[in-house]
Structure formats: C-alpha cells, structure tokens
Symmetry: C5
Subunit: 304 residues, 5 copies
C-alpha cells in the first residue's frame, strides 16, 4: 500500500484543491517504485521538439519510437512520463493506465527568435488522453514572461476546475539576466517562488549554482552557507512556501553517471522531492538507463 | 456588535452595488479589532513576487511560510489579508472563515522590462477561495496603462456581478512622469480619482509628498496649504468622490517604527480609512510586529 | 405633455431602431425644461478623468462630490447627465429616475502617450445603472482610430440590441491632422458624418471654425459662405444625414458667459440640437451656473 | 417572371451554399430592370466614409440625404443598393422590401495611416436590417492583408450559415505593389481569384489596364492579346473559377458619360456580370443620373 | 475490398483518435487505385492562391475550372483532392461522395510581406463540405511560427473532436534558416518531427537534400549514409515516430517526368507513404497527366 503518511502529508499542503486534483497528485505520488515515499522520478521527453529528432535520438535509435519511452518509464517503475501532444497520442491507447502521464502543453524549438514557446496542447487534450497533469514552461526574466504567465494562469485554472494539477517548468532566461545568472541561487529560488505563487502544484527548476546574480539580493545571501548543493536545494525548497509545494530538479545535458547520482543525493538531502531526468535516461542504451534508474530509486529510498 | 453607524455610513456610499458586494465590504469593515470603526488595517504580502523570496523573507525566515501571514493577520486582529493566488491557496483551507482575504490578481517581478503586470488570478479563483475582494494594480502614466485599465474594468465588472468588491492599487509610474512625480500630491490625488472613476470600492495609494508635478495643475494648488501629511491625505480623500470611497495608504519600504505610527496618525487625521502595511510588518520579528500592530490599532481607534 | 410633434419627428428618423432604443432617446428628448422642444442640454462630467480632480473641481470644491452634478443637472432641468462609471455608480441609487444618464464608456487622461482611450465601462454597466445611453469618444485621424471604431461598433451593436442608444464624441485628432485642422469645418463635418455612418444616435462634435483643412475638400467649400457660426453648424447638421441624426455641440474650455450664449444661439439658428456643456457649468459657482443654464434654456426655446 | 434560365444557371454554380444564401443571391439577380438577365447594376454609396461628405455630396446636395440613394436605386430599377451601417439604418424602415441592400461592413477614411479598414458592421446588423448580402473590402498586397482576410473569413462563414451571401471588394494596394500595378491585368485577375478562393459569392474589382506588373507572370501573358478592355474583362472572369462566380466591375472616379457606357459594353462583351457604379451616379443631377442608368440597363440588355 | 491489413496497421498507430477521425483517415487510405495499399497520391491545388491564376493555369487553361481538378483526381483514381475554401465550394455539390477532399485552411500569396499565411477556412467549413481532413501550413523557423503553431493547435483540436484528421504542410522557411537549409535533411526531419509532435495525422514535407544545416546536428549525421534519396526519406519517416505517422512528400515545381517517377520510387523505397503532387499534374495536358498518374500508381503498387 503506497498511500502512506508521507503522501498524506504532502497532499495536505494542497488544501485548496478539489478532490480530483489531489487524486491526480496522489496518482503520481503513489505510482512506481518510489510510490509512497514522497519522492519522485519523472521521465520527460520533449527534446525532439527542443533540439530535433536526430540530436535527441540518433545516439539510441530505439528512442525514435514514442512507445520506447512509455515502456522505459513503466519498466523502471518511475512515477510519471511527460511529453508533448503527439508523442502522448502515439502511445496513450497502448499504455493506458500503466503510468501517470503529464502533457507538456507548450514547446519551443531550435529556431525560436524570441524567448517564448508555442502552446501546443490543452487541458481538454490532457483529459481525453487520461493525463494526470499538465506541464508548462515559463521563462522568468524574458520579455514575454507576462504573456507566458497569463497563458498558464488561464490553462491552470481550467485544469484545476477539472481535477488536473499543473507542473511549471520555471526556467529563468532572457531580459537583463546573464548566462551565469540563469543558474544563480537567488534567481532559481525566485523562479521557484514565482511558480508557487502562480499556483503550480509541482515546481520544476534547475539545480542552482552558488552564484548570486541580483545586486539587491546579495545582502540577504551574504552570510549564508551555500557551498554545497544540498544547502542550495534546501533554500529552493524553502522558497516554495517553506516546503509546502513539491519541487523537482532537472538534470541538464547528459553527463557522467556519478554526477547524476550525486545530484540525486543532494536533492534528497536538501529536502527536494526528486528528479526529472530526460536526456540522461534515453540517450543511454536501455539496459544502462534501467540500471541508472534503479540506482536513483535506491538513492531516493535512502538506501545509499 | 460591529455593524455600527460608521460602517452603515460607509456602505451607504456604495449605493449602486448589489447586496453581495456590500456584504463583502461589510465583512472587511466589521472584522478584527478595528471592526466597526470605519478604519482598516490590511496585511498585504506580494513582495515575494515583486522582489523575490530572500529579499522579502530572509530577515524573518518564518515568513517563508504562507501560514505565518494568515496567523499574524488573525492574531493581530487586522481587517484583511491580501496575497497572490498561490499564497492564498496554501492557507485558504486551514484558515477559512478566520479572516477576510483579498486575492491580488496581478503581479510584477524584478525582471519586468515594461511597466505592467501579469494577470495571475481571476474572479473565479476569488470565489472558490472564499475571498472578500480582488486587488489589482494600475500604473497611471505608464505606456500600458490603457491595457491595465481595460483588464481591471473587465475583471471588476465580473467581480461586481458575483458580489466581490475591487481594491485598486493606483501607483503612478512610467511615461512622462519623473521619479519625484510618482509621489507628488497632484499625481497621487489624480491616481486616486482615476481609481474611483474606474469603479474601485477600495483605493490604495501611497502617502503623497508636497511636490506638485504637473505644470497645468500648479495654479490649482498654488495657494493651498499642503505642508502637513494630514492635509495631503485629506486632499486625496476629497479626490475620491469627496470621501465617498474607502481610501487606504501604503507604508512603503520598512522604516523607523515611529514614522509608521506618525503615518497612521496623519492618515487618521486627514480622514483616510487606514493602512495597508506589508514589509513593515512581516520583516520584523513576530512579537515586534504584533506590538506595532497593536499600537496602530490604538491610533486608528483615536486612543493616542 | 412633452411627447410633441417635434419629438415624434426626430424619433421617426431612427426608423431602424427597436422600440427600446427609441424609447430611451425619447426619455432624453422629453426630459427637463427643454423636453418636447427637440432641443437638448446635456451636462458631461469626465474632466476629472481627462485632467485630474484639482484642475476640474478645485475652483468650485463642491464639485468634487458626484452628487453635486446629478443635483445640478436635475435642478437646472437639463435633458441628461453624462459621466464615467465610478461617478455614476456614486449617485445612481440616490437619483434613480430623476434624470436620464449617459454612461461614458471610454476615457483618457493627462498621461496618455497615444491618441486613444481606455474602455472603462460596458453596456451591462449602463443597464444595471439605469442609463438612457452610452457615450464613446472616437478620434478620427488618430493612428488608433480603426481600433476605436471597432470597439464602439461592437459595443454599440450590443447596446442597440438591449435598447440603449449610442452617443459618439467624434473629435478629430492625431495622424496627419494639424492643430488648426482639428476644428476645421471640413474636418468637423467629416467627423460628424463618420459618426453617423457608424450608427450613432446622437453625435457630439466641437463647434467648427471657418478653416478648411483638406486640400481635396477645398474646391467643395470654395464658393460657400462659412463666415458665421450658424452657417457652419448648418453644414455639420447637413453632413449628419441631412439632419436625420441628433447633433449636439460642445463648448470647449470655460469662457466668457456671453460667448456661451452666442454659441447656443448659433447652434439653434444653424439647426443643431443643442449643447453639451461641462466646464462652463461646474467650474462656476452653483448659483451662477444655474442662472446661465436658465438662459441657455430660454435661448433654445427661442425666447431670446 | 424573372427566375429565368440565366438566373438558374448562375445559381447552379453556388452548389455548396444553403438555400438561404442562394435565395438571397436570387433576390439580387431577379430584382429591377435587369432582373432575370444575369446582369447587375449595383449602387454603392460609401464615399462619404472614404472621402467625407462635402467631397461626395456637395456637387449634388440632395445626396446628403440617405433616402435619396435608396429612392434613386429603386426608381432606376437597379439590382441592389450598398452602403455602410448608418446609411442603411437611416432608410431601411422606409424602403423595406423595395430593393435588395448590401451592408458594407468595413470602411476606411481619408486619414488612414495604414492600408486597412475598420470593421463597422456585422452579420447581425445585416439580418436585422433585412439585407441581401454583406460587402467587405480586402487589399491584396497590403501589409495587413492577412488580417483583413481573416476578418472576412470569419464574417463570411457566419453570413453563409444564416443565408447571407458575401460580396468582396478586392482592391490590390500597398506592399510592394506600384501605383500602376494596382490596375494591372495580372494583379486584378489575381485579386479576383483570391476573392473567389476565399469563398466570395460576388467579386468586385476594378477594370484592369493592359499593364502586366509581376515579373514572374509576364511569360504567361506574353503572347496573349490584351489590347481591348473586353478581352481583359474576359480574363478576369476566367480567373474567377472559369466564370462560376459573379464578377462586377467598378467605374472609378466620375468621368465622361460616354466612357461609362463604353465600360459597360466592354464588361458585357467580356462576360462580366455588371457594374457597381457610385460617384458616376450620385454626383450628377438626378435626372441626368436616371438617364444614364437607363442607358446602362439598355446596354446590359444588349439593346445597344 | 480495400480495408486491408496494411490499412489496419496504419490505423492502429492512431490509437488515441476517436473512431470518427480514424474513419476519415480510412476513407483516404481505402479510396482510389491505391486504396488498401497504405500508399497515397493526393492532388493539391492551391497554387492559384500562392502564385496567381495565370501562372498556375494559363499553360493548361482547362485548369481554371475547379471542376477540372475534381474530375482529374477522380478519373485518375487518386486518394484525395486538397484545395482552399472557394475551390472546394465550387465543386463539392457536384462531386459529393466521389473523392475524399482536404480543405486547405490557410494560404499565402505572392505579396506576403512576412512568412506567414492567412487562415481562410475552418473546421465547420470542412464539415459542411463533407471533407475528410483539413490541411494547414506551418513554417518552422519563421518569426511567426509560434503563432502558426497555436492556430493549428486550436483548429486541429476542434477537428479531432468532430472526427476530422489534420494534414500539416511543414515547410521550414525564414528566421535564421538559409535558402539551402530549407531543404536540408536535418531541417526536413526536424520539421516533420515537429508536425508529428503537434498531433498531425498526415505529415507533408519536401524531399530533402543531403545537406546538413544545423551545426549542432552535424555530429549526429556525420557517419550516416545520406547519399540516396531513399535513405533520406527513410530518415524522415523514422523522425515521424518511427513510422507511426503517415508521411507524404511534395514534388516541388513542375519538372522532367522521369524525375517525378524517380521521386516516387525513392519515396516508396524509403518507406514514405506517397506523393502530394500538384503543379506536375495540372500543368500538363490532361491526357499526359493521366498517363503520369497511372505510372505513379504502378510505382507505388511496386509494379515497376
């Protein structure tokens, strides 16, 4: 039985949501090998939209097939699988009921001239495809951020009314922000906080560096200890309503596997809720990916 | 019994509103330790959106938790608590019925490239969260002011039809306005008047300086006495339909506590309806904030 | 009995309107001391929006109170009172049924960076406040004029369907138009004609000068006699479907009282339907304003 | 009886339209002195909007009155009368049922800064005024052409669903087009073809010159004979689905009366469906206009 | 019987679509001489919109008549005929039920100043005209691509809900893309993948060259063999969900007939689903076009 006190404690933080929305959050929290632990691993596959098919899948050609990702997430016992409309449509029938899915409802691509995304899915799509949540990217700091915020406000409100939670990918980019600033601790915590204030149920941010970007914020961080990733994760979690919202961290470009494991330990130790890990998963051979995910599950279970 | 003649007199000015809207105004006017006096203290917490979490809460880390602000406003006997969507959602279940809430339905942040805000909440949100009012910022003088006015016109009309009053934060900024002009008496009175003409039930402006910004307005102010803050408050109140609308004043950045008290006395003596006071409250330790609010209540009660 | 043949003749020109719309026109035409004459005096008070409260009301401080204007229009026996949303809301309950009101549904202010206005009211507002008409400003020649025209087209259609007539303030400004051209005879007649073609029931323009602005129009005016204001009024009236639409003229900035009377005589003699007169009314002491309006009534009655 | 085989043949080309739309086309095709011939003369009066009242009507002052045009079109036995909203509203009651009317639902004016028009009427207006069709101008080549096309797409679809046909004024202007190109044969045929592809029932274009504007199109026209107006008309008609759509031609600025007659003969001989003739009609004294229209009817009947 | 296992296998890939949508896909897959083979030839005629009537049809004047194309597609036994609104309206009655039609719902023309198209049709149009699908062009890389994607997202969702599949013409153009890049293999595969992710049922792309445009993609293509068109087609097909979506290729400008045949063989050998071939068809005399289409059918049947 995975409806544990850890799950109940998390759900109790969503005190204003209707039972349908909380039930879908519970679907994600109780599914897979981490079901019931309050920890999560989500497989996101939107890199084909962002970078094109060859850059995403040529290294592991089985991954051209949308069924590959469904099956991988199911077999690895992950909590959820997230993808854009077409990719979910291509497997939602076959895998119905086998894993919670998250419909990514906006997407960018390599040719974007502005820092924005196109809305490519809807709450109605999420309902007809049996999804447990919608996902939406905002770019705090971008010139178009207000438009993006208004888009997700509207879609999130519609989703809440029909029992669908919202995952916000909050990725600071653009405007006056420097490249280094995109990963700064103050910026990441601020981006996570904005997502929380916009009413996100699950907040997805990048693991922050120890850099502090904003001059006005420096005094607040001056005498803190931000030297370890775990402490920085803890600050982000605190910035999400003192831990009242689920926060997951993305892994970035594919990298050394030990770094992946260390990230997970830091997320766990800092009180984060888990990983959302795409390229590091499907850009490895399946067996290798399965082994990696198995160890990540162990880490989140506190077994290593 | 807090449904006093002072409250009845104020409500009678809202002669075109339906009973639902007047009842929600009455909820705010009759709640807390100032209930029935016609005076108000409102706790607003949207600085996390505007300046980020660390700049807002690091000085008093308990304030990272949305429940902290609900509890503070309740324990201090304030009239209402105002915050953006996510922050209200995080406590609306726990504190339902304990204090009137105001949903702030638009917000800006530190990266805004234009002088505008994103709409981040709705009248439906206010209804499902049991709010007593919605709050909206307009920036008279900004290039986007017409768009902002049309947004609040539409949302305010919807709110009125379902019995929800509107609070307009009328903050002149942008366009041809100088920095000094943002706090000018003529500008502040004009901004308050615009809010009244747009149909606001409660008007929130900054305490004005004695500066007169607009050349064409100078003759009108030339021979008046604007040397005291109380006289300036009185002019703003007069500009709100000769006192037929509730006007509250914001305190600005946190400052010396005696200045806070003096502001309240001036607001009271000038005929203003009260204070909306955020950073000066939650950026102090709770005990200190409670003591400060206790004295503000006394001031508005005319006890000192 | 004010449902005179003059009123019937005017109403018969609105041959495509439903009975509700014609009844509201009749309310205006039959009300007050000019009721039944086919002549009109309307009190408009939107200068607080346009120029701010002090510039509008400091000279006659009683005018800060929205009730002042309602009472003045009623006591002077005018045909209607026009104001923005908030100002009508502040008195619509008290004065319900005592005077026809016109809801001004768009407004500008001193900080406008473009030549446009914000929509600040709606047909639904007009209905719930018991108004007899809506009022809308268009700026023919302005870069945004097409947007303004499309706004009033939509709102006017909605209004007609629920029996509410439309008053169009047609004020040429912006674009290639010179300052002198704003008051030119050809321009004013053109602006009035555009309002008629857009389906306005009542057309409000400024009294035109003898200047001809448009090169292409000069041959058409070359051998006409435009030396007197009455002749120019007659040309504007002719441009409004040969007199099939009600045309009223605004007085401009407050000025010498004899000039006000002369304007009224010229409007009357040129076949115009009346005056819409704001600052010249409420920027004088009440007794003086009452006396002036009394004489204007006499003039429109042809008594002097 | 005017429901002739010529009319039936034309109607049979509108094979996808509902009976309501075909019935309204039939109303136009069977009305007046050309009723049943498959030929049309339409009186359009929107020059007051485009050029102002004096430039349009001062030469024949009776034309200031909207009833003048209704009566002229009726007395001359024309097929239809087209005008903007206000002008139709001013006569639709008096002349109901006496002549088919076309509501021109967009209009420009002398101050337009861009090459576009404002939408000033609606399908609902057409229905309540008893119109037989709506009319809409598009400017192929203009920077805003896509917006205009999307406007008429939406309104035309609505119109078709309630049995109202669409007349498209397809006037190439703006963008990379030269002044001479606006009347070029290739451009005019292309503009007419676009109108047909957008689903217009009646296509209104200008009589084309023999100039070929587009470099890429020149080879297609190189060895054709385009020396006579009749041949050019025939090419435009062919470009409208090989004659499956009604095409009428406008006359341009008022000109020598013999040129008007010759144009009509060329339209007739080239297989065009008729003339839409405004300024050449109402800018002459009524008797002269009546005589001219009488001869045009004779020409279209093939009597001269 | 054309409801073969090949058809069933294709339909099974559309596992999330409702029966209505799959039935319409089946209509296309089972119609004509290739019915049941899983291969398709579609006749598209939107060149009149894109290039004008003379450039499209003067070479074969019978093609000015919309019936010509219907009849050609029917007589040649093609799977479907695609055209803009007006062209379908002109034949949908006569040819109802004789061939599946695809309503092309957006179109550009020779004067477009931006890289975009106007929406010129709707799902409702498709339903009333009995179409089996809608078609929509997106220009990945164009500055307006997000707007185009959002348009088709909305219309495609509406279409799916009423059982209408979507064909996306995915043509990379604009932005930072070079002219050579428009046909690059990586770019074409990416464009096809984006169409798949947006939820297209049928994807239409151009036959790609061996050029690789994107620097970041080069490593992925470095050691592959892209020397033959068949291999490149196979890569595009793989990029469409590993072959789970129907992909058809366009032929471009009219060209040597042997090149047309070779293209078809390459499409077939690379696993593509067929050709969408316009100018190469209707810009030849009918007999020649019929013979060409006959041979293309043979090629797709694997008979040569």
């Amino acid at each position: 039985m995975t409806f544990t006190s850890a799950v109940k404690a998390i759900l109790s933080n969503y005190e204003s949501d209707n039972p349908g929305t909380r039930a879908n959050l519970a679907r994600i929290l109780t599914h897979g090998r981490l079901g019931g632990t309050g920890k999560l691993i989500i497989l996101p596959v939107d890199q084909g939209f962002e970078h094109g098919p060859a850059r995403s899948f040529a290294i592991n050609p089985d991954a051209y097939d949308p069924h590959y990702h469904y099956q991988l997430a199911i077999d690895a016992g992950l909590n959820a699988y997230a993808a854009p409309l077409g990719a979910l449509e291509a497997g939602a029938g076959t895998f119905a009921g086998q894993i919670p899915t998250i419909l990514k409802i906006n997407s960018s691509n390599s040719w974007a001239s502005g820092i924005n995304q196109a809305v490519t899915g809807s709450v109605e799509d999420a309902l007809r495809l049996g999804c447990a949540a919608i996902g939406f990217t905002v770019y705090p700091a971008a010139d178009d951020m207000f438009d993006m915020m208004e888009e997700i406000r509207e879609m999130s409100a519609e989703a809440k009314s029909v029992g669908i939670p919202t995952v916000i990918w909050s990725y600071p980019r653009g405007g006056k922000l420097t490249k280094e600033g995109e990963l700064a601790l103050d910026v990441g915590a601020y981006a996570a906080h904005i997502a929380a204030l916009m009413g996100a149920h699950i907040i997805k941010v990048k693991l922050p560096s120890a850099h502090i970007e904003q001059k006005e914020a420096k005094p607040m961080y001056g005498d803190g200890d931000w030297s370890t990733q775990g402490l920085r994760v803890a600050h982000v979690v605190k910035s999400c309503f003192n831990g009242r919202r689920i926060v997951v961290f993305s892994g970035g470009a594919s990298k050394d596997i030990d770094a992946v494991y260390q990230d997970a330990r830091d997320i766990r130790d800092g009180g984060g809720n888990g990983s959302i890990i795409g390229r590091n998963t499907f850009q490895r051979p399946r067996a290798e990916a399965m082994a990696m995910l198995d160890r990540l599950v162990s880490i989140y279970k506190g077994e290593e």
